[in-house]
């Protein structure tokens, strides 16, 4: 049902993210640490896919990052506010996979989830388990 289709969407996004993670950082030289990779996601990846940068990146430096987009292009044309809140996850699953795939190519295993409080603001939470 709903869960299956969301995970299918997420895995599609994952594969695309893997390819993008290979193609985008072509000439940019090595990422020194995790934060650099996240910054790359917020700037280069977001601009390449959505033509805008991520609005904010917060971290607790323990492996949790929260990426916030105040006007997410996939949700923008839908509604403004609380209408259609239940429909929002369908549009975010692919993007979560995209982030996870790009991180995977760059060598970081992670878990990405998304949450919407009010359209079109959405937050992507990236959890990188410490090994």
């Amino acid at each position: 049902g709903q869960k299956m289709s969301l995970s299918v969407l997420e895995s599609m996004g994952f594969r695309v993210g893997q390819a993008l993670g290979e193609r985008l950082p072509r000439e940019t030289l090595a990422f020194r640490e995790e934060l650099d990779v996240l910054k790359f996601l917020c700037k280069d990846l977001w601009v390449a896919v959505f033509q805008k940068q991520m609005d904010s990146l917060r971290t607790n430096h323990q492996g949790t990052y929260v990426l916030q987009d105040n006007s997410f292009p996939l949700l923008l044309p839908m509604a403004s506010g609380l209408q259609y809140l239940e429909e929002a996850p369908k549009f975010l699953a692919f993007t979560c996979g995209l982030l996870r795939g790009a991180l995977c190519t760059l060598g970081i295993e992670s878990v990405v989830t998304a949450s919407v409080a009010a359209l079109p603001v959405c937050k992507f939470q990236v959890l990188i388990p410490k090994s």
Binding site: R15, Q18, A19, G21, E22, R23, P25, R26, T28, L29, A30, F31, T105, L106, G107
Partner: protein, 177 residues
């Protein structure tokens, strides 16, 4: 020119390895395997040096009496290793760099192919996506159905990788590490 090239995944297993058919393939497999240690050394050395410039091209890894081995690592920790004949002194650093760059472009195209699963062996088969191979004096397409019998086809013009869907042939009897 290059007598052998190899694409090595970040877990250090080979994704693609090709050498000119006249030589003993096993020797090249062994050389590429030993060069991985040098590649790892260089990568960790670069990590420690607090230099802003970090190159993807690793340069000459080690010379032997007949061959020279060059290395290149991508941002996704995929390594390319190229073995070149020592007698070919006309080959300059710039040319090696440009060969690696073309290899990187081809590898990126393979990654973007939706029919390719990352981590699988890269197949180069007739009628499918060709993995560009800088063996011999020109860019030659290697149409191989059976990976053991390598028969490069000399092409007069350099040809780009075409992202056409490929029918995967069964994996050949290459040695796995």
């Amino acid at each position: 020119m290059a007598v052998c090239i190899a694409v090595i995944a970040k877990e250090n297993y080979p994704l693609y390895i090709r050498s000119t058919p006249t030589e003993n393939e096993l020797k090249f497999h062994y050389m590429v395997h030993t060069s991985l240690d040098v590649v790892d050394e260089k990568i960790s050395a670069m990590g420690k040096a607090l230099v802003d410039q970090r190159e993807l091209y690793l340069g000459l890894l080690y010379p032997t009496e007949d061959y020279k081995v060059y290395g290149y690592v991508t941002n996704s920790k995929v390594k390319f290793v190229m073995v070149v004949d020592s007698s070919n002194t006309a080959l300059r650093d710039n040319e090696i760099r440009s060969m690696f760059r073309k290899l990187h472009n081809s590898y990126t195209d393979v990654m973007c192919n939706p029919f390719y699963n990352p981590g699988d062996r890269i197949q180069s088969s007739p009628g499918g996506p060709y993995f560009l191979c800088p063996i011999q004096s020109r860019w030659a397409l290697l149409p191989v159905s059976d990976p053991v019998q390598v028969g490069p086809t000399p092409v007069s013009d350099p040809v780009q990788v075409s992202p056409t869907p490929c029918v995967r042939s069964s994996p050949g009897p290459l040695i796995t590490w």
